[in-house]
Symmetry: C2
Subunit: 223 residues, 2 copies
DNA sequence: TGGGGGTAAACGTCGGACCTATCGGCGAGG
DNA sequence: CCTCGCCGATAGGTCCGACGTTTACCCCCA
């Protein structure tokens, strides 16, 4: 195994074992390189790799730190990976989202507060009757993001965030080409919000399923 | 933005845009560095980062290649990230798995072949009446892995693979400490297989839910 | 035709030199 | 006494050149 790979493993081990905690500062590159027994160049490759996946946070002129290591931070790196997938696999991502989103929405129905419900209402109201497609999709993303946050599960929340991104383009496309798609989206959002306000998990789940299935079916039909 | 980060973005752009296809070989480091306008050292950091997430495959003495970019390959990098999560978040992962696994099992019930059913049967039979905990958990993982593969969704399959790993330790622990856990697991596996053999998605889904919920409840109770 | 050796190409590692952003102390000024 | 701004120490950012190590592949010989 290459020394750089060893360094990656060693740094990982230091974090997992607890020798390094979230937020801790690493020794400066020269010292850490000496400590791990490799050159600064090779160590830098290891650090760069770990910073790409948000394990380390490198601050020029300051030092290198361990990130908070929260699921939201680490899973954020997933979006980088997802960007490489071809359109052909978008349908697979959407299928997974169709599984997770209804579940998250149902979970949210049991935990959502009055304040959060009101916030969602204002979010939907903020959009006019005939919004631009880009605004609608942005509003769509935010709507579902907030609901996922109410699920109380940060892993679920991050996964949905990641899975939603690659389907954004597809949704914009749909809004532009499919007759009535915009109105349908607005109506379904309102229905989901009503279900949440009623604290009705099953209705919320069903509307979320219908909502995503409509995108999925459309996408499957045009691919 | 640092030149290395630019290089990462440029290489990513080359792949996403189609200038580089899956399996393609990159120019040698010296040439690519010149092409992108940076030094070989900095370029190597970019390449190392991309190889950590399985975008590039560096073969010493040969060259650097773009991987197949299949979901299974790219999502495999997720396990590296998941390794950094603390035990406290294992429950969140398990919750997500409890959402995905039943769905995958239900999907599998509709697509599974006679041959695959027979294979699962042999897998379960391969374990004795009183297996070692480690063998049981390994068998458990393989059982669910094969079922997920039958779902036909590689993204779903990879995600489950990743989510299952961090809960492995917990399951071993449970097998060692909870009375009757081993027998219960074996019985539930058999029930899931029966449901699959009957091509009954809803029964399969329910058994999968029960199966994972039992682990989840136990884990929640001991944490 | 098949195997073995050799060579060239490519990645791996190292050390050092120099640039640059950042932080924090210190002193001048209000 | 407090505040603002300068400045030096520190740490990461980049580059260069050299050499080691592995691998693929071609050529030669049996």
């Amino acid at each position: 195994m290459a020394v750089t790979d060893e360094a990656i493993e060693k740094i990982k081990a230091m974090i997992v074992s607890g020798a390094l905690h979230a937020g801790d500062r690493l020794p400066k590159e020269a010292d850490l390189a000496a400590e791990l027994g490799l050159s600064r160049s090779s160590l830098r490759e290891a650090v760069r790799a770990l910073s790409l996946v948000n394990i380390l946070d490198v601050r020029r002129g300051d030092g290198t730190y361990v990130t908070s290591l929260e699921p939201a931070v680490l899973l954020e790196a997933l979006s980088f990976i997802v960007d490489f997938h071809k359109d052909a696999t978008v349908l697979e991502f959407l299928q997974v989202r169709r599984i997770l989103e209804p579940a998250a929405t149902a979970m949210a129905a049991k935990r959502i507060t009055e304040e959060q419900i009101a916030g969602l209402g204002r979010l939907l109201d903020g959009l006019g009757k005939q919004p631009e497609v880009e605004d609608l999709v942005a509003n769509d993303l935010e709507f579902h993001r907030r609901i996922a946050a109410c699920s109380g599960n940060s892993v679920l929340c991050s996964l949905l965030e990641t899975l939603s991104a690659p389907t954004t383009r597809a949704r914009v496309w749909r809004g532009l080409t499919q007759e009535g798609a915009k109105e349908r989206t607005l109506d379904e959002h309102r229905a989901i919000l009503d279900a949440l306000a009623s604290r009705d998990p099953e209705v919320a789940r069903s509307w979320a399923t219908v909502h995503i299935a409509s995108v999925e079916q459309w996408l499957a039909s045009v691919l």
